[in-house]
Symmetry: C2
Subunit: 458 residues, 2 copies
């Protein structure tokens, strides 16, 4: 254990303390995440089958349940050095304002132009695509952070980048689109007329505001229809969680350096990229019997895959062209209410996170967006960072846990993931500022509709 040192406001690791390898939590999981299934055969997808959609090296990472550490190539580590290590911040001001005995830390991933942690996986995926001699990649983006991150990574490496952006975000966030264009990407509102699956969805649901599931279908189709292109995804997949383990590894290294021991670890959960990455090394300790933590995944009440979904095989996309994943899901046809602002709109959840939740290693909770924006505004004023709506789900629960400590007098150490900034979410903030933001929690009937579309898997 490190000697007691005064904890600075921000802990930055030195460059030589940065992780040299990603941590693959699957290696330590007794119950591995279930394999992806080929929807035609209902058999586990082979490396060859996956290779038609994803880069070769990424397929290997996707299927690797054995190696605990996977070296980060030097080129990726060099890119990481441009915006990493990200700070682990001690929320001294928030603690004082809340008058809580709890000690609150957050790992802040927003200090880069993509505005979030998404860049951690974007550069890895773009690097392997480049390395394989590809011309370009296609992807979807919801809140826009992933698309921006991928655009940045592709611009850096000289790859073409085609982004299908969920229509509601495309309209609410025109400036996100311009950031992507500044990085040389082409951006299409989804569902669009440019793909067969997009046309089919538009025909079935005219006027739809789109969903991540739709945009994924279109991006996959675009990738498979162009020579020298592959599809990349910003969340859900095992490979993405692997890359995002850099968040948790840095967090743990910073904590170890200062002798900080976490009690509660909190992350927001959409597809699971952030929470999965943040908690990986800590869950690894739990799986190896080395430590115990309370881990909480926080999701929107309007898109409650963990807390109200089914643990079942489902399509990863709305168009049902992608493999099936076993995960907590609301059904691939589920589209959150249009009044839901920000990201975390995915119908499913990372198979790794789903399995950990199913095995009782982590908890999940859901919060309503007006409560989330209350916490976001409070946090912005006290800690000086305007958070992304997604990140603010974790802030909400961190504040609630800190307030519980105030009642009980417990000096718990709370660590949460502040995944990004809300600079492109001002339409949502404006609604909140004007008092016109509302909540919508899906009824059981709403959910039953989504569940009805679940595929039958023996």
């Amino acid at each position: 254990m490190a000697a007691m040192k005064e904890i600075p406001y921000k802990i930055y690791l030195e460059e030589n303390e940065m992780p040299q390898a990603w941590y693959n939590v699957r290696a330590d999981m007794k119950n591995k995440p279930a394999p992806l299934l080929n929807p035609a055969t209902m058999q586990p997808m082979t490396a060859e089958e996956l290779g038609g959609v994803f880069c070769k090296e990424l397929v290997a990472q996707e299927l690797d349940n054995d190696n605990a550490y996977i070296p980060i190539p030097k080129e990726i580590r060099d890119f990481y050095k441009m915006y990493r290590p990200s700070p682990l911040v001690r929320a001294y001001c928030l603690e004082e304002k809340l008058q809580t005995p709890a000690k609150i830390y957050y790992k802040f991933e927003g200090n880069n132009t993509s505005g979030s942690h998404k860049l951690n996986s974007a550069i890895a995926q773009a690097y392997y695509a480049k390395n394989q001699g590809l011309k370009g990649v296609t992807t979807e983006t919801g809140a826009g952070q992933w698309g921006t991150a991928l655009s940045m990574a592709c611009a850096y490496l000289g790859l073409d980048c085609q982004v299908y952006m969920v229509k509601v975000s495309y309209e609410q966030k025109p400036f996100r689109r311009e950031v992507m264009r500044t990085y040389g990407a082409s951006v299409t509102a989804s569902p669009s007329e440019t793909t067969a699956v997009g046309r089919k969805i538009l025909e079935a649901h005219p006027g739809t505001s789109g969903s991540l599931g739709c945009a994924i279908s279109e991006a996959v189709e675009a990738a498979t229809n162009q020579e020298g292109y592959r599809y990349v995804l910003g969340s859900v997949l095992n490979q993405v969680l692997l890359h995002q383990s850099i968040i948790g590894l840095e967090t743990k290294a910073a904590m170890d350096k200062y002798g900080i021991q976490a009690d509660i670890i909190i992350g927001c959960a959409g597809g699971g990229s952030n929470v999965g990455g943040l908690i990986s090394p800590f869950v690894g300790q739990m799986l190896r019997g080395e430590a115990d933590y309370r881990i909480i995944a926080v999701e929107p009440a309007s898109c409650p895959s963990l807390t109200r979904g089914k643990f079942a095989y489902d399509f990863c996309d709305t168009g049902m062209v992608c493999p099936l994943a076993k995960m907590y899901t609301l059904g691939s046809g589920f589209i959150p209410s249009a009044n839901h602002a920000g990201g975390l709109r995915y119908h499913g959840m990372s198979p790794v996170v789903s399995q950990l939740y199913h095995d009782g290693l982590i908890e999940a909770t859901s919060v309503e967006q007006t409560k989330v924006f209350e916490a976001a505004t409070y946090f912005a004023r006290v800690e000086g960072i305007l958070p992304a709506p997604e990140s603010s789900h974790a802030i909400r629960v961190a504040i609630d846990e800190a307030l519980k400590c105030k009642e009980t007098g417990e000096e718990k150490t709370i660590v949460f993931g502040l995944t990004g900034t809300g600079y492109f979410d001002m339409v949502a903030y404006e609604k909140f500022n004007n008092g016109t933001m509302s909540d919508y929690i899906p009824t059981d009937d709403d959910l039953a509709q989504g569940f009805a579309g679940l595929p039958k898997v023996d």
Copy 2:
């Protein structure tokens, strides 16, 4: 001299290496900046007269030409710790892309929600206002960075904040307004009907897109008309440059720590807050005969106060209600062409920077905005940070100097100030992306009109 160490991508000072005092370059200047004059009497403004508009402690700082170091109160240093020290970044990727032997560094001030260095002075000014028992402050904002910074500082301290925002920015940057509102500020487009001076300007120039000079007049009137309010300004004033010296002090400390010796120091110049702060300690060395640097202030060709203005007493505002300052000026009636995107639209220049320029200690140059956005886009793709248009003026000249080194083979060390991020400037980036951005350089006749309004001072 420090031992040779490998230079990391980003140099972060430790908290205990952060400056404890601001540096007041005026103490080392042989030719002091000329005093502010009372427009009614044409006599130097007394502390008492200034106290009607500014907080007491800030008046003392404004008039202090003698003390080289002014301690930073602990409360301000604590706030600084939330977003400082800012990194001094080695632009390894840019150097490689340019294939230049030059070594390029930038001091990045954009890693905070205000998106710029403006927060450094905002928290200081808000702190002294709070300390004096005031209810609130009024101010103007152009590009919006200063208004956001002040809103953040006021929210943190619980002060009311009233912002007059230049109309063209108000319209181009609705999201900036929402950030300020999220921090609890009230924001009014200027010129407005809420002040006598605003109504007068609107009558004389119906349909005007506003200017910093107009907004200053309105904010000053609003401050003097409300009990318990004072006016605060984000640039130009001596006190602002004092607070912003934190930029230069940290830069110098980081360079000294790694034994880096600058040859060229480059800063963008609007009212002078950034360039003045960045260069202060380096100019101090020059003034004391301890070192020599080439220092370049870069301004927009559309608002060229240093390169084409007159060194004369002029009003700081359009409404001619403020004191007169001796500075390089285009005349308080000068309003840059509406096609000018971004900030750096002020008609004058900090008296300190003006005096240093007049005395030949620093150079100045001007650049056209399409060239600036070319550099901005190039930099974004290579270094992964989408820069503010203002900051990109410095990037442009840094790249040009690095390319000169490529021709001559000189291994110069170039340091520039990257004052902020362009996340709220996407309307301008969109114009550039679409190829519809144009340049306008004022003609001699345009400038003659501005000069005609200069006051007569014996």
